[in-house]
Structure formats: structure tokens, C-alpha cells
């Protein structure tokens, strides 16, 4: 099967469990299992070529200009990991089917699990480091969802957040490292990078790249000092812990170290950093694990310890170390997943994971006992089980490793770690399964159905088989090792066998096991000692760091971004004026090339009124209604000015926007005090006046200078004028710019407009469903109300004028491409026509006659505009390429059809929807308790039979 399918199957399959949720739990798990099985079989079909030593490749160019290609590669190492991911994944899915209770949403769980599986397979098969990074981040995200699957548990949410923060941070660092590596090698393809060992190791940026990549690996694989997130991630359901936190995800970091082994390893930096981190993690994890009372916490820390062991082996940089690491990955995945699953069984049956409350389960749960004991003994390093073999190889490698010039350091620490490792394994067996049967378990434990114990049992088979017959695993491990080494070193000749003779590693192994037994004998005093020793609590430190970072960001934001618009405007104006002044005083200014036109009395009158209205606005702005009237005058004069300067388009737009603005502001003013209170000090107001005067004068000076001179460079308007009809098929250049030349901008703008309207809606809805609702409903009008609510004159007038306005809007829309007009103006005109009906007959009456919700209108507009743009893809043109043609349908004259008109329709709908939605949201806020909801368009209607509700009406007004 093509590699693409193996990666894509889990992703596409992730859609299925959610859909199958209604069909029942068995169907849901069944479909997940089938998807995984298909990918697994697909992987196996590639086995012959992998065994033959070939590298299977699949390649599709994605964004070649960035060096990002969808390139997949399957070699021994990738096959090994993919086998673990998909194979153990199958067992986990079967196990989870029986583990999750009926209260858990199984579809959600399996969707996340398949997403994770796909991302993980993607990591191990990627041949492009950028692609690998994408999958890397995807595993962080999907594991976040899986850890936090039990959303009702605070531990789950906190653990998920911690895991995401730590692994996400590492991922960020790794992006940097990978980019450096790609720059050095000149390609982001792994197969190229892996061949450039000398070039990369000689580069001065090698050390930064190494540190950054290792940060990513160490955070993901829970290496010291980033080990603390893994135990907290154990709040996840046990199948997740078994899958992500023992067998697969935490091995991603190790996978990457192995993958990068040929280019990164072998240098002193690599050796020191990786070996030290691994050794520290191994010892620390083992010691902490011994004293954990939670069964899963014990296993979590033991996982940390074993990951450290593997890291240390990779750090040695020798071929034998790499082989031992690969062998231990295999062994650890089998016994640890089995142990997690058995811990899950104990939790599931006894309803507790606290070791102090367990014991004697051997008689009550014999099957689980056998599984857990075999796996735990393997972890302890007991002969005839697979853990013994790789642990002995580790000790063998340790005796040859010299760190910091001290020959005994590594062997001693490795043995010390193994000793504790053996001890916690014995504790697991002894304190959970052996001992007397108790009678105070939270629930009566018994062996579960085969659905729960069969998956771990299957995993125990290779534990025993490899342990007894090591030669079974040898060819495969050597194949994997060969692809790790990548030709940089020869695969070691050493055979896998139980008895190597009386070698030092054997003595160390025996010492570890015996020491472990001795530790168990003195466990109780040791525990008391441990509990009295003070030690740092990782979670507290992490929370403190997060708190401190949040506090610091808050401080930074509060000082830079305090929400006062006056401050931003002042800083902006002063900066712009200063920059402009600098340019003016240092640059050269050409002589004026134009002469000012003489001004007639009428323009001067208009100008005087504009000035008067603006000055009045400045002095009267505290009276809000008055300032609205003055703004109306300013708008009117500006519109006339546009006409005077031959820009009827702008005049129409300005005028309609003016009307809509007044309505919107009046709706808002209903909730505001009628006067603006004095809030700022005199000093501050003086400062603001200074800034405003400087900004205004500077703008005037710039405009005056510019109007008297020609532009330095030819403006783009020449191009627009020349190409408007030729390229865009329209003679109205303004409209062609909007829908064609700058169509993409317009598309973005209508989306922004729609979002803004939806936000207004969301905010008012939140107000109406919150605590403010009661206050809004019981609000009393702040002034005496006069007259009718819905006067007959207004109703009749707006009804008569509505079709006229709609027709004008339609006309202006259609004509827009060639003459002034277009979708934007038409949208505003139509909105005003509809708002008139709201004002005349009231909110309730108009809403009852509303057929399409305004959200839908906005969406339809954006969709139509977008689809018009996409349409040009079908003729192999870039997004939003427009086309036009002429048609003639008798009896009409020949007319033009342009795709731009369809785009304009989208603009039109988005504008109508956005304007109406914001107006409607505001007026929704004004609904009050006991408002008469009339079905009639007007209050007094002589044509109605029923008498006008005079008494009731006056009683209403008195409220």
C-alpha cells in the first residue's frame, strides 16, 4: 500500500467514530479498529521491501518554494516505529472498548485517538523535516485532547495544559533547530540532511541546532529536567497512558534522536548532553517511582526512567549503544504497555490505584496477576524475559562509557538506577498482588472479561518469547539498527543471547536484582525517610512559572495597551507628525507646479459651514444629541463637496453611510447619558488640544503642499484608467478597482464587516442572557414619551416609498460596473429601506415578517463572493480573476455579463446583512418588559373594525 494511504487512513478514519457514535459502542470501536487494521496491513505489505533493505519513498510537491514537500520514507527505523504505533494501537483500541464506561463519549475518544495515530505515523514516515514538524505539533495537540479527555476532572485539564505547554515549547525550539539544519544542508529533505554529517558537524551553528533539537526531543520524551509533565499526564484514561505515555508518543523524541543519530551524534557535545540527561533521568525516575503510591504514577516514573536509559544509550554514540537502544525500545513498549493495561484493570475492578489499599490480588485476579508479574519481572531484568537482555546490553555499554573522565561514574549510576528499577518492580508485584487478601477494597476485585485482559496478554507473549529465544528478535533489531546508523558505522556483530559468560555486566545485573530485593526488605523505614525529606514539587514550580509569566505579560500589556484610545491616538499622531516634520526639514521640496483655483462664493459658503459645524462640534461635544446633529451637517457638506469635485460615487456612499450612522448612534444613545461627563484633568485636555491642533495643521500643510505639486512617481491611477475597460470590462473605474483590481482586498473587507456585525450580535446576545437582562427589561424611559409608537403617516409613507427605494437600489447595483454605483451603495440603500419599516411599524412587527436571518445573508454574501473567486480556478486562472462577455436576449438590447457582477452581489448581500444585523442587535437591547406587541402595522387604523385602544393606549404611555 502506498505510504500516503498509511498516513492518511487514520486521519480520514477519524471522521468515522464520531459518525458511528449513535450506532453503539461496538460499532464505534469496530470502525476504529478496522481503520487501524487497514493501515497496519498496509504497512505490512511494505515489509518485503524493507526486509530487502530498500527504502520505500513517496513524494508529492506541496510548497516547493519553501522546501516543504510531502515526502514520505519507509526504512527499517520508520517501519519499526510504525509497527509499534499501529500494532499496539490495535490492542489499545480493543482494550479501550471495554475500559471506557457508558458515560464516556466513545466517538470523541476514538476520534482523538485516530488523529493521534495518524500524526504519530506521520512523524515516523516523514522524509521532510518541515513535514515532520507539522506532524510533531499535531501529536502535541491530539495528546492534549486525549489527556484532557475527562474534562470534568481538574487534574485532567491541568495535566493536559502542562503537557501541551512543555511539549509545545520544545516543539517551538525544535522548529528553530530544524530550520538551522535545513539551511546548513541546503535541503529540508531528511535523506539529504542525513548524508551531510561532516558539513553539519563542522558548521558553527551545529551546537545551537543540536541544543534546539534536543530541547524538542527531551520535552517530548520527558527527559530531565522536563520529566515532570509525564506523571501529571497520567490523569488521562488508562488506554491513553498505555498508548501515548509508554509505547508511542514519549518515544517520538527518542525516535528523532535515533533518526538524527547519523548527523548529530559522535561529537563531544552530543555525548555530554544526551548521556548526562539520560543518566540523570534514569536514576531520578527510578528513585521517585519506588516511593509513589499511585500505581499509574509509579509506572509513569518508571517510564521516565526507562526513557532516560534509552536516551543514555543513544548518547554514547556507539553502534552497540544504538542497537541496545533499539532493542530496549521494543522490549519496553511490550512490557510497559502490558503493565499499564494491567494497572488499568486493577483500577477498573478494585476502584482504586492506591498501592497502600491493594494487596493479595493474586488469589482474586489470577490472570491479571500472571500478566502483570511477567511484565514487571521483565522490567526488573530477570533472565528468560526480554527486559533482561536489553538491560544487560545497557550495563555492558555502560561499563565502556567514560563520562567527565570518571570511568566508574556511568556503570555505578546505571547499576544504581537498575537497582531502584528492580526494587519498584518487586514493590509492584509484592504490594499489589502478593500478601494476604484484604477485606477493605473499595470494590470486590475479580478478573475482568477477556476484552480487557487479552490485549496485555498478547503483549506478554513477545516478552516471554524474546526472553527465551533472543535470536527471534535479532535480525529485526539489527535491520532497524542498520537504518539508524545510516552507513556511518557498521552494525555490531554481537549476538543476542542470555548467557554471555562471566562478564562485568552480569555481575552488575545480579547486583541490581539483589540490591532491589534488599531495598524491598527495608522499604518501610526508607519510605519514612523519603517522606520526611523535603523535595521540590514540580507542579508547584510549573504553576509558579506560568503565574509569573502571565503576571509579567499582564504588566507589559497594561503599560503598552491600556485601552485608552486617546493615548494611542496621541502617540500615533505625534509620531506621524514628527516623522513628517523630519522628512520636510531634511528633504527637498519641489517648486509648485500648479496655481490655486479661484474660489466662488458658493464653495466658500459651504466651506464656512463645514468649519462652523466642526468648531461647534468641538465646543458642544458634551451634548451628545447636538453633536450628532452637527455630525449630520458635516456629512452633508462633505457629500456636497464630493459632488462639487465630480465624485458622485463618493457622494452617494457618504450620504447613505451618514444615514445609517445616525440611526446606529441614536440606537446606542438610547442607553447612554445624554451628556458626556468631564473625566480628564485640565492638564490632560490641554495636552490633547495641543496634539490635535498639531495633527490638524500638519494634515492641512501636507494636503496644501501636495495639491500644488505633481506626484513624484506616476500614480497607479493611470494604470487603472487604462486597464479598467480593457481588463475589467467596466467603465466605472472605482467599481472595477473594488471588484476586480483589488477584489481580494474587498473580499477580506466584507469578511471583516461580517465578523464585526456578528460580534455586535454576540455581545448583545451575551448581555441579554446575562445578569444585565433584568435591568434592561425593567428600564424606565428617561424622558416623557409623546405621540404614537407607530404613527399612521410614517407607516404609509415608508410603505409607499419602499418599492421605489428597492428599485433604485437594484438599478444602482446593476449599473455599478459602468456608471457610479455598485454593490456597496446598493446594499446601504436597501438596508435603509428595510430600517424604515422597523422604525415605522416596530421591531416585533418587522421581525415577524423577516424570512431570512441576517447571519445567513452575511454568510451567503461571503460565500457567493468566495465561490466567484474559486470559479476562476476551474479555468486555471488565479483566485478572483474576472471575465466578462456580451449577451443579447431579444427583445433587450445587448448587455454585458461580468463575473465581477456576481462578486458584487456577494458584497451587496454582506453589506445588507451586516448593517441589518448590527441595527437589529442594538434595537433588541431596547426591548422592555410589558411592551405591547401589536400585530398591526400602526396603532390607529381607521380601516380596522375594532375601536382604537384609546384608554389602553394612554394607560400604556403613562408607564
Amino acid at each position: 500500500m502506498s505510504l500516503f494511504f498509511i498516513v492518511a487512513l487514520p486521519f480520514f478514519g477519524a471522521l468515522l467514530p464520531g459518525l458511528m457514535n449513535a450506532a453503539g459502542r461496538a460499532a464505534c470501536a469496530g470502525v476504529t479498529f478496522t481503520v487501524s487494521l487497514a493501515a497496519f496491513i498496509g504497512l505490512l505489505t511494505n515489509l518485503p521491501s524493507v526486509l530487502a533493505g530498500e527504502v520505500v519513498m513517496a513524494r508529492v510537491d506541496w510548497i516547493p518554494s519553501l522546501g516543504l514537500n510531502f515526502t514520505l520514507m519507509l526504512d527499517g527505523l520508520g517501519f519499526f516505529f510504525a509497527l509499534l504505533i499501529l500494532g499496539i494501537g490495535l490492542l489499545i483500541i480493543a482494550y479501550a472498548r471495554h475500559y471506557l464506561s457508558r458515560d464516556d463519549n466513545m466517538g470523541e475518544f476514538f476520534t482523538y485517538l485516530l488523529l493521534f495515530q495518524g500524526a504519530m505515523v506521520g512523524i515516523v514516515l516523514s522524509d521532510n523535516v518541515l513535514l515532520l514538524l507539522i506532524f510533531w505539533e499535531l501529536t502535541s495537540l491530539s495528546s492534549f485532547l486525549l489527556i484532557g479527555y475527562w474534562k470534568h476532572l481538574p487534574e485532567g485539564r491541568q495535566g493536559a495544559r502542562m503537557a501541551l505547554a512543555v511539549t509545545g515549547m520544545g516543539g517551538l525550539a525544535m522548529i528553530g533547530g530544524m530550520l538551522i539544519l535545513g539551511q546548513i544542508a541546503g535541503s529540508y529533505d531528511l535523506s539529504v540532511i542525513l548524508k551531510n554529517r561532516d558539513l553539519i558537524q563542522a558548521d558553527p551553528l551545529y551546537v545551537p541546532a543540536l541544543i534546539l533539537i534536543l530541547l524538542g526531543c527531551f520535552t517530548k520524551s520527558a527527559q530531565f529536567p522536563f520529566h515532570f509533565w509525564l506523571p501529571h499526564a497520567m490523569a488521562a484514561p488508562t488506554p491513553v497512558s498505555a498508548y501515548l505515555h509508554s509505547a508511542t508518543m514519549v518515544k517520538a523524541g527518542i525516535f528523532l534522536m535515533a533518526r538524527m543519530w547519523p548527523v548529530l551524534s559522535g561529537t563531544p557535545e552530543w555525548f555530554t548532553v544526551v548521556t548526562t540527561a539520560g543518566l540523570a533521568t534514569m536514576v531520578l525516575g527510578a528513585v521517585i517511582a519506588l516511593f509513589k503510591h499511585d500505581l499509574k504514577a509509579l509506572l509513569a516514573f518508571s517510564t521516565v526512567s526507562h526513557l532516560g536509559l534509552i536516551t543514555m544509550l543513544l548518547g554514547t554514540g556507539t553502534a552497540f549503544g544504538a542497537m541496545a537502544a533499539m532493542f530496549h525500545i521494543l522490549n519496553h513498549a511490550t512490557f510497559k504497555a502490558a503493565l499499564f493495561m494491567s494497572a488499568g484493570i486493577v483500577d477498573h475492578e478494585a476502584h482504586t490505584r492506591d498501592i497502600r489499599r491493594l494487596g493479595g490480588l493474586r488469589r482474586l485476579m489470577p490472570v491479571t496477576f500472571v500478566i502483570a508479574t511477567l511484565a514487571a519481572l521483565s522490567m526488573a531484568g530477570i533472565p528468560f524475559l526480554n527486559g533482561f537482555l536489553s538491560k544487560e546490553m545497557m550495563l555492558e555499554e555502560a561499563t565502556h562509557t567514560v563520562l567527565f573522565g570518571v570511568p566508574w561514574l556511568v556503570p555505578a549510576l546505571a547499576t544504581f538506577g537498575s537497582l531502584f528499577s528492580a526494587a519498584y518492580c518487586f514493590r509492584l508485584i509484592g504490594h499489589v498482588y502478593l500478601g494476604p487478601v484484604r477485606d477493605d477494597y473499595p470494590a470486590k476485585p475479580h478478573d475482568p472479561g477477556s476484552g480487557l485482559w487479552l490485549p496485555p496478554a498478547i503483549l506478554v507473549v513477545p516478552v516471554v518469547a524474546i526472553g527465551i529465544a533472543p535470536f527471534l528478535a535479532e535480525p529485526f533489531v539489527k535491520l532497524v539498527t542498520a537504518s539508524v546508523l545510516g552507513g556511518e558505522a557498521d552494525v555490531p556483530k554481537a549476538y543476542f543471547k542470555i548467557w554471555h559468560g562471566l562478564v562485568p555486566a552480569l555481575f552488575l545485573s545480579v547486583a541490581a536484582v539483589v540490591g532491589g530485593l534488599l531495598l524491598m526488605a527495608v522499604f518501610n523505614p526508607l519510605l519514612r525517610l523519603w517522606e520526611t525529606t523535603p523535595r521540590p514539587e514540580a507542579k508547584v514550580i510549573f504553576e509558579a512559572i506560568v503565574e509569573a509569566a502571565a503576571w509579567l505579560s499582564g504588566k507589559l500589556i497594561a503599560s503598552l495597551h491600556n485601552g485608552a484610545f486617546t493615548r494611542y491616538a496621541a502617540i500615533g499622531s505625534v509620531a506621524i507628525v514628527a516623522a513628517g516634520f523630519h522628512a520636510w526639514s531634511t528633504g527637498t521640496i519641489a517648486l509648485p507646479t500648479r496655481t490655486p483655483q479661484a474660489a466662488g462664493p458658493v464653495p466658500i459658503a459651504g466651506w464656512l459651514m463645514l468649519v462652523a459645524a466642526t468648531c461647534g462640534l468641538v465646543f458642544l461635544h458634551r451634548n451628545r444629541l447636538l453633536s450628532l446633529i452637527l455630525i449630520g451637517i458635516v456629512g452633508l457638506m462633505v457629500s456636497i463637496g464630493f459632488v462639487f469635485f465630480s465624485a458622485p460615487d463618493l457622494a452617494m456612499t457618504q450620504f447613505t453611510v451618514e444615514v445609517v450612522t445616525i440611526i446606529l448612534l441614536l440606537l446606542a444613545l438610547n442607553f447612554l447619558p445624554k451628556r458626556t461627563p468631564v473625566e480628564s484633568t485640565v492638564l490632560r485636555r490641554v495636552r490633547d488640544v495641543g496634539v490635535a491642533v498639531a495633527g490638524g495643521l500638519a494634515t492641512f500643510a501636507l494636503a496644501y503642499h501636495y495639491l500644488l505639486r505633481d506626484a513624484v512617481a506616476p500614480p497607479i491611477s493611470e494604470f487603472h484608467l487604462a486597464n479598467s475597460y480593457k481588463g475589467g470590462g467596466g467603465t466605472n473605474v472605482v467599481n472595477v478597482i473594488l471588484v476586480d483590481f483589488r477584489g481580494f482586498d474587498t473580499y477580506g473587507e466584507i469578511i471583516v464587516l461580517g465578523i464585526a456585525a456578528l460580534l455586535i450580535y454576540a455581545l448583545t446576545e451575551t448581555l441579554l442572557s446575562g445578569r444585565v437582562r433584568a435591568r434592561l427589561l425593567n428600564r424606565k424611559p428617561d424622558q416623557p414619551q409623546a405621540g404614537d409608537m407607530h404613527p399612521m403617516m410614517m407607516v404609509v409613507l415608508t410603505r409607499v416609498i419602499m418599492p421605489v427605494v428597492l428599485m433604485v437600489g437594484f438599478y444602482i447595483f446593476l449599473r455599478g460596473h459602468n456608471e457610479p454605483g455598485g454593490g456597496f451603495i446598493a446594499g446601504l440603500i436597501v438596508s435603509i429601506a428595510v430600517v424604515m419599516q422597523y422604525m415605522a411599524s416596530g421591531f416585533a412587527w418587522a421581525s415577524a415578517r423577516l424570512k431570512y436571518p441576517y447571519h445567513g445573508v452575511i454568510g451567503a454574501g461571503v460565500l457567493i463572493a468566495g465561490l466567484t473567486g474559486i470559479g476562476s480556478w476551474f479555468v486555471s486562472k488565479p483566485f478572483l480573476t474576472s471575465d466578462f462577455t456580451y449577451v443579447r436576449i431579444p427583445p433587450f438590447q445587448e448587455f454585458e455579463l461580468a463575473t465581477a457582477a456576481l462578486f458584487d452581489l456577494g458584497v451587496f448581500l454582506a453589506v445588507v446583512g451586516a448593517v441589518m444585523l448590527s441595527l437589529e442587535s442594538f434595537s433588541r437591547l431596547a426591548r422592555r418588559e410589558n411592551m405591547p406587541e401589536s400585530e398591526h402595522p400602526m396603532d390607529i387604523d381607521p380601516s380596522r373594525d375594532d375601536p382604537p385602544p384609546d384608554e389602553a393606549g394612554s394607560a400604556r404611555e403613562a408607564v
Binding site: 459658503a605 449630520g632 447613505t656 444615514v659 440611526i663 438610547n670 409623546a786 409608537m789 435603509i832 431596547a926
Partner: protein, 95 residues
């Protein structure tokens, strides 16, 4: 002897001056008040005067498209007046 076009020019200038004067007087009313109602009425009159200005401007410059601007002003100019009037009468403009 005054020609037809000459008479037209005089008429246009007269109309311009009259409308501009009207606008300024409306402005005076906006400033003096005394009630908000007076000011709103003044604004409404200014819209009508502006309509006249656009029409005369169209005749003067001989541009047809200006009449559509005046059409829009005539059709929708009253809406803001009505909204302002509703606001001072009822507080809530959409009830």
C-alpha cells in the same frame, strides 16, 4: 439684450446664492436653537437646500449623473430627520 443662455446663467447664479444663503441661515438656526426640535428642522432644511445645490450644480456643469445623487438625497434624506425626531419624542427609534 439678454440671450437665453445669459438669462440661464443669471438664474443659476441667483439660485446658488439663494441656496447658499439659505444654508447659512439654517446654520444660524442650528446654533441659536433654542430647542433640539428647531435644530433638527434646520438640519432637514439643510438637506433640502443641499438637494437644490446638487441639482443646480448639475445644470451648471451639465452632468446628468448628479441628478441621481439628488434622487438619493431626496429619497433617503428624510430618514435621518425621522430618526432624530423619533429619538426626541420616544427615546427609542425602533420600538
Amino acid at each position: 439684450m439678454i440671450t437665453a443662455s445669459g438669462l440661464m446663467d443669471i438664474a443659476i447664479v441667483f439660485a446658488f446664492v439663494a441656496l447658499a444663503l439659505g444654508q447659512i441661515l439654517c446654520m444660524v438656526r442650528v446654533v441659536l436653537g433654542p430647542t433640539t426640535g428647531d435644530r433638527i428642522l434646520a438640519l432637514d432644511t439643510m438637506v433640502i437646500n443641499a438637494l437644490g445645490l446638487v441639482v443646480v450644480l448639475g445644470i451648471h456643469q451639465g452632468v446628468q449623473i448628479y441628478f441621481e445623487v439628488s434622487l438619493l438625497i431626496a429619497m433617503l434624506g428624510f430618514v435621518s430627520t425621522v430618526a432624530l425626531a423619533r429619538f426626541i419624542l420616544r427615546g427609542d427609534i425602533i420600538e
